[in-house]
Amino acid sequence: MAGKRLAKGGRIDHDRPLRFTFNGRAYSGLAGDTLASALLANGLRLTARSFKYHRPRGIVGAGVEEPSALVELTGADAAGNLQATTVPLTDGLEARSVNCWPSPAFDLGAVAQLAGRFIPAGFYYKTFKWPNWQLYAPAIRRAAGLAAAPRTPPAEGRYEARYGHCDLLIAGAGPAGLMAAQVAARAGLRVMIVDEGTEPGGALLSRRLQIAGAPALQWVEEAVAELAALPDVIHLQQATVWACREHNYLMATERAPERPGLMERSWRIRAGHVITATGAMERAIPFGNNDRPGVMLASAVQSYVNRYAVLPGRRAVIFANNNSAYAVAADLLAAGGQVVAIIDSRADVPEAARALVPQLTVRAGHVVISAHGARALRGVRIAPLAGGPEETLACDLLAVSGGWNPAVHLWSQSRSTLRYDEALAAFLPDRPAQAFSAAGAAAGAFALEDALRSGAEVAARIANVAVPEIPDAQDLPYAIAPHWRVEAARGKAFLDLQNDVTVDDVHLALREGYSDVELVKRYTTAGMGIDQGKTGNVNVIGTVALARGLEPGAVGTTTFRAPWTPVSFGAIAGMRDGQLALPWRHTPVTQWNLDRGAVMYEAGARWRRPGYFPRPGETMQEAVDRECRAVRFGVGVYDGSPLGKFELKGRCVGRFLDFLYSNIMSSLTPGNGRYGLMLSDDGLIMDDGVCFRLDAGRWMISTSTGHAEAIHSHMEEQLQMRCPGWNVLITPVTSQWTNATICGPQARAVMEALGTDIDLSPEAFPFMSLRDGHVAGLPARVVRVSFTGELSFEVNVAPRHMRELWDRVMEAGADFGILPVGSEASHVLRVEKGFLSLGHEVDGTVDAHDLGMGWVMSRKKDDYLGKRAVAIRRAGSHGGAGRRELVGVLPEPDCPIPEGAPLTPGGRREATEGFVTACVWSVVQERWVGLALLENGHARQGETAYVRLKGGAVIPVRVSAPCHYDPDGQRLRS
């Protein structure tokens, strides 16, 4: 039992005990604890096993920098791979270690440690490379044992997302951030101040400092109260700004929003200016066995003592290369702890530092070579830096300070540059790439008064006001002599505790030629994982610098990428899950379809449409056949509402449509329409559909369901960017017109039974014309188009009338045996007719000539989109020789062919000469019929081609014209 709770002090409530379990055992902590501080207060040392070697690990840090104490929460709060230092303790919390089974003290995986020296950097890449890494990765990741994601979402609670807008976003509510917020808010700026801690104050929470002659936290309290009273300030705690994107767009997650049932809230913030007041993080010093439980960051020790009233060890040694650790020693002594000695690698220790702890032994010019003890620290071996006699100091706590790294992550994500500062031995913000500033320790202003001044000055500059007076704040000036690693180290010296990366691994990477720091990172995995190397990355840079004889600034940093800390997917999604993420589009008869047991499909563009309507005991094929027979021999009806529809109005519409379509539309007279193709200017088929003229200046066009938005975009682009000044107005009316399409030989009889004031005779209302009038007493626009090859009336009504129309059609059609028809039957009917379907027969390579539709390519028009490109392409292929052309195929013997099956010459195992685009059971031919794209197919009608299936089976097919039924189109014109 090493650590213990202090009787008083700290930012915890000594009168509010909380119960929790860790690895199945019950413990007690206090309100205000983190899981880590509660574990230390209970004397727990060994909290985890490491990722690769399963070495015993303890708590190293006190916040988001924690590399090793990873836990998994179970029960109601289930979550994987959390840092014990960032989990606020709650009553009933259940946690367990990751990477060890059955417990960290008795870990079967620790046998891997024995083989440790055989697992150098790059080992996995070198060993598991045949046939490929992907084969091994899942098993290796399982063995590595990081926690799995929870299998089910939390039973209760939800996430939400919202937007934020401000003149100034301040990341961090420490002294610099609060000072900046005060100055900016007083000047009238809209300020957001966002801090990831459980309470504001930043580093002040962990230190014993004074501002203006009073405890620093009193100043914090007053500053926060002043901000809270201002109307244009939003202050978020337990909220992390984790990403910066273009144009000062930032992502933040609020982890404990004060609203019942809300687990997390994600913010997307557009800020006029950003101040990163994100503080600094301490780095470790690599020496032998520097991962032993009991070796901690000095600042973390200070935090546990001052903030959580926990003494993490009974006998402490301090190992430092800078001044900040002297305050830690002083605080340990003040709390009643014992400090054996301060080991300082600097030969000359500043007098101001020594003066903080005059009673302590300072071993200047000495270093810790190695730590002793297996599962917990028992002592350290020290030696003069210059070499000389070694000695052992017994201790159960080693507080290490290798210097301070400004938290430049957010700054760097904005692409703002860094520079290496020799005096501070750290990378500092240099030139901003966006409206960004850094303040406080994040800008290298480590001493408290400097941090306050830096916050005030930066905010004053942004708000364009005078810098106010800075309150008095005594703090020891920072001074450091960098010490990147202990040369005489014995045992593994870890740079990255989370990924088990040692100094030797970095040297191996350099020997093997991975000299760039980005390559070192990828080869060794240093700096990856949950902590993203917050304590170790700069030491990796220092190690590379020493080995290559460079300055750290010349080595440079790896790229800082979002997120700064792990973010839950739920918070990013907010409320957009399930139906809200990708909502379905429904027509007014969706419920009717569902009530009749329709199997629903997506028809493109998120429209839900019935696929088929099975009756009890019926197979899908039987249902589809029945629906097809109704259309071919009686009457059927389908809901064609999802088809894209646009109304175009204006003097120049005819000319505009002639430019968009490959055929001529301007010559249409009112009430008449034409089928057409729209090409892109590179000659590919974008869409097909019909175009009707309503009156002199109004037109209506249809597009395929899935292309409606793309065609809208295309038309507006052509109009606005290429045809400025043309008098055309485009209105999407897909949702304004819904329709019931009645089709089949009995369609006219059903229309008559419905009752209409439109003359339905073929002479008065021929194929490809349109009439406005009434059907079943409802205002309707009836269009004679046909996508089935049968006599069809597309009855369009306003959506509010659709359900009534549908009911009336079913009533009127009952005598004729009318059936609702789904998209499966529609597919069969169009294949029988050889009608195109984009995505089946049109795949981005074929042109109209290949489809046997050369007639649609106007020769009269000098120019239209795609004309020149098609001409050039066909001229280049000698008039189209060798192109894949649309044909019908009849399998012989009669059998189905899978859609997409390749055709090869003679069925041999050779390069394909085409593929089957569709194959259906034809109710009129009573056999399987298909369509295919086949090389020189037009000239090969009557010949035999060969489908070659996967596995080598060959199906001969007779090549025919694409249309398998009523080639003259008498039925659809009837």
């Binding site: 994107r245 273009e246 144009h247 000062n248 767009y249 997307r268 557009r270 692409r415 790439a433 200017d681 590179d682 938005e709 975009s713 507006e716 682009e717 606005q720 960017m721 290429r722 000098d862 120019d863 004309k867 020149r868 490109a869 050039i872 001229a875």
Partner: protein, 85 residues
């Protein structure tokens, strides 16, 4: 998430827009170009390192097709080069 200024709606999030590719030279009269020139116009899409003029459609806004100059190195929206930007 770029911040794109629509001439009608003001600065709006990129998510309201649909990208329309770099701006090509105006579409020539096909009668005045031979095949090679036409193919060059059709297939040559500006792809510079640095400022490029782009089309964006304010699809979830007013429906305007607009153009901006974007620096491909920084995503900064910059002035047109001839404006001295």
């Amino acid at each position: 998430m770029l911040l794109i200024t629509c001439p009608f709606c003001g600065p709006r999030n990129e998510s309201e827009f649909v990208y329309g590719g770099p701006v090509k030279p105006p579409r020539p009269d096909p009668a005045t170009r031979d095949d090679a020139e036409w193919t060059e116009w059709l297939t040559h899409v500006p792809n510079p390192v640095g400022p490029v003029e782009e089309q964006w459609w304010h699809a979830r806004g007013c429906g305007t097709w607009l153009t901006i100059w974007r620096d491909t190195r920084s995503h900064d929206i910059v002035g047109a080069p001839h404006d001295g930007g």
